[in-house]
C-alpha cells in the first residue's frame, strides 16, 4: 500500500510503451510517412517550424508524428533539438521585396503594381465537408504563371509619398539580440519583441490581436499587405568578402498600416505593425503585426490601458512551451507542500472550534 511510491521507473517504462503503441495505432494500417506529413499536412509542419524557430520541414514533420499531432508537443520536441545546435553566425536580413510571391494581397488598394494574387488560400472556400477527400481522387494541376519581376511592397508605395513612418533603422553597429541566448530584460527593444512574437503561441497572439480590435487598445489597422512566398537566406562570410546563399525559405509577411500620428515637429503619418512567420501562416502573421503595433504604444506617447499593450504581460506569456510546461507541472506530486497546508488548515479549524466552543460557554455563563 505505502509502497505505491516505489516502482516509478517501471511505471514510466510501461507508460512509454503504451504511448508508442497508441501512436502507431492499428498495425493493419500503413504507418504515415514523414514525406506524407510534409506534403499533406504542410500547414501543421509550418506552425511547428515557426513556433520552434527552426526551419526544417522533415524534422518538423517527424516531431508532428512523434507528438501524435499534438502541435505544442511537436514544437517542444523541435525546440529542444534546436537549442543544442551551434550558432555559426547571423544571416543577412532577408529581403521580402525580392520575394518569389505565391500570394500577395492588399486591403488598402483596389489594384496596385504586381496585382492582387490570391494563391493557395482557404479564403472564399465554403467550409463544407468535402466527401471527395474521403478517397484519393485525381486532383487537377493548378494554373501557373511564370514568376515575373520583383513585386513592390505596399509599405514602399506609402513610404515614397512620406505617408507612413520609416521602416525603423537600428543604430549603427547594433547587433540584433537573440532571445534564445540572452536573458530577457524589460523594457525590451522591438527587435527582441518581434523575435518573441514570431515564436509566440498562435492562439495567444490571435486572442490578443482580437482584443485590440474589440477596444482593448485600438489601433485602427488596415492590412497594407500580406505576402507569402520564397526568399533567399544569405550569410556574409568575412573570409570571402561577400554574402553566400544558404538556401530558400518560405515566409509569410504582414505589414499592418495603423492610425496616424503627428506632432508639431512631424507631419501626420501612418504607423506600422509588422509580422513575419516561417512558412504559410497568415493568421499568425496578422496577429503578430497587430500585437507588435499595440506593443509600440509607449513609443507614440499613448497610455498603456490594455493587456495587448503591456510588454511584460504579452512577452512573458506568449511562449506556449513555457506556458504548457508550467501549467502541466501541477500534475507533478506536490504532497509535501500539500501536507504543510493540510496541517495548517487543521490547526486553523481547531482554533476556530475552540473559539466557537469558548463563545458558547461564555454565553451559557451569561445566561
Amino acid at each position: 500500500m505505502y509502497v505505491a511510491v516505489k516502482g516509478g521507473e517501471a511505471a514510466i517504462q510501461n507508460a512509454h510503451r503504451l504511448l508508442a503503441d497508441r501512436r502507431r495505432g492499428d498495425r493493419s494500417l500503413p504507418a504515415i510517412t514523414i514525406e506524407q506529413v510534409v506534403q499533406q499536412l504542410g500547414l501543421a509542419v509550418d506552425r511547428v517550424m515557426a513556433e520552434a524557430s527552426l526551419y526544417d520541414r522533415s524534422l518538423a514533420a517527424l516531431a508532428v508524428r512523434q507528438a501524435r499531432g499534438d502541435m505544442i508537443e511537436a514544437i517542444f520536441i523541435l525546440r529542444a533539438y534546436r537549442t543544442t545546435l551551434p550558432r555559426f553566425g547571423s544571416s543577412e536580413p532577408i529581403d521580402t521585396a525580392r520575394m518569389k510571391i505565391e500570394r500577395r494581397i492588399s486591403a488598402t488598394y483596389k489594384d496596385l503594381p504586381g496585382g492582387q494574387l490570391l494563391g493557395p488560400t482557404f479564403d472564399y472556400t465554403h467550409r463544407l465537408l468535402d466527401p471527395s477527400l474521403l478517397g484519393d481522387g485525381a486532383v487537377a494541376e493548378p494554373a501557373r504563371k511564370e514568376p515575373g519581376e520583383a513585386v513592390m511592397r505596399v509599405s514602399d508605395i506609402l513610404d515614397s509619398d512620406g505617408l507612413i513612418e520609416g521602416d525603423g533603422t537600428m543604430p549603427e553597429g547594433h547587433v540584433p539580440g537573440d532571445l534564445t541566448r540572452e536573458p530577457m530584460e524589460f523594457p525590451m527593444p522591438r527587435d527582441l519583441r518581434l523575435q518573441a512574437l514570431a515564436r509566440g503561441d498562435e492562439g495567444f497572439l490571435l486572442a490578443l490581436a482580437y482584443s485590440t480590435q474589440r477596444g482593448y487598445g485600438r489601433t485602427h489597422p488596415f492590412v497594407g499587405e500580406i505576402r507569402i512566398g520564397e526568399v533567399e537566406v544569405e550569410l556574409d562570410v568575412p573570409e570571402l568578402g561577400f554574402a553566400v546563399s544558404l538556401g530558400v525559405i518560405r515566409v509569410t509577411e504582414c505589414q499592418m498600416v495603423n492610425q496616424f500620428k503627428g506632432s508639431a515637429n512631424e507631419p501626420p503619418q501612418f504607423t506600422r505593425g509588422y509580422g513575419l512567420v516561417f512558412g504559410q501562416s497568415e493568421r499568425k502573421a496578422m496577429s503578430m503585426s497587430l500585437v507588435d503595433r499595440a506593443l509600440r504604444t509607449e513609443e507614440f506617447g499613448e497610455d498603456i490601458v490594455a493587456p495587448a499593450q503591456d510588454q511584460e504581460f504579452v512577452i512573458s506569456h506568449a511562449d506556449n512551451v513555457q506556458a504548457t510546461g508550467f501549467v502541466e507541472h501541477l500534475k507533478l506530486p506536490h504532497y509535501v507542500d500539500f501536507q504543510a497546508e493540510l496541517n495548517l488548515v487543521r490547526r486553523m479549524r481547531r482554533d476556530y472550534e475552540t473559539a466557537r466552543d469558548g463563545e458558547g460557554d461564555m454565553k451559557e455563563a451569561a445566561e
Binding site: M1, V5, E312, P333, A340
Partner: protein
Amino acid sequence: MNDLATYNFAYLDEQTKRMIRRAILKAIAIPGYQVPFASREMPMPYGWGTGGVQVTASILGPDDVLKVIDQGADDTTNAVSIRAFFQKVANVAVTTKTKEATIIQTRHRIPEEPLRESQTLVYQVPIPEPLRFLEPRETETRKMHALEEYGLMHVKLYEDIARNGHIATTYAYPVKVEGRYVMDPSPTPKFDNPKMHRSEALQLFGAGREKRIYAVPPYTQVVSLDFEDHPFEIQKFDRPCALCCAENVYLDEVVLDDRGGRMFVCSDTDHCEDRRCAGHAGPMLAIEEAAE
C-alpha cells in the same frame, strides 16, 4: 537526420555551461541575488526542473555521484526521470544515499541528514521571485530588491497574523540571506528553512522558465522572516514516523483506507530506510513487511 542524436557530456554544450557557470559564480558572490541567465530549452518541460537540470548539468563532472529527489523521495516519477536523464547523457554514478552523493538535485525538500562541505544541493525553482505575488512586474520587483524595499513582505506577514493569529505561510517561506536579499527558498516546507542556515553545503537554485539562478554559499546566514512577538516556527508532527519511529522529521500523510485510516511516514525515504536498517521500527513496519 541520422547524426541527430549526438549530445555533449551532460547534454549542454560547453559554451552554454560556461555561461551558466558564470551566472553561478556571480550568484555565489552575491548570496540571495537572482542572476538572470540565458536559460536553454531543455528536453523536459518548463516547470519540471529545467533550471535545476541546467545547474546540475553545468557543475557535473564524470566523478560526481548524483542523487535526485522529489518530495524527499528518490523514487517519485520525476526524480526517476531526471536521474535517468543524467545517467543517459553524462553516464555518471547515481545513488539514493544522501551521504554518498556529491550533488543532490531536489524539488520541494532538503534531506534530513545534515549536508557536508563537499556536497552541493541544487534546488528546482518554479517562481524565484519572493515578491512576485505581491508585485507581478519584474521591473518593479528588481527595483524593490535594489532598494532593499521589503516592507511589502512584512505587511503581508503582518496581515496573516491580523487575520489568523499567526503567519499562514507553510511553504516557500521567505528568508533573508546574509542580512541583505530576501529570497524564495523554493517551495520547500518551512520545516526545512532552518537547515539552510549556515549549511556546510553549497546551495544553488535554478529557475529555468524564469531564467534566474541564485545561491547560498556554505556557512551563510539564512533567516526566516518573522516578528519579535511572532517568532518563526516550523511544523511539528504529534507522532513519530510509522515505519522508522523518527521524530523531528517531516512526515507525509498516507491514506490507508476509506474509513479515515492514516499513517504518517518520513518524507525523506533514504533517511527512513537508513533508520530501519539501523533497527528502528515504527508501529506500522511489521504490518508493511507482512503485506509484502
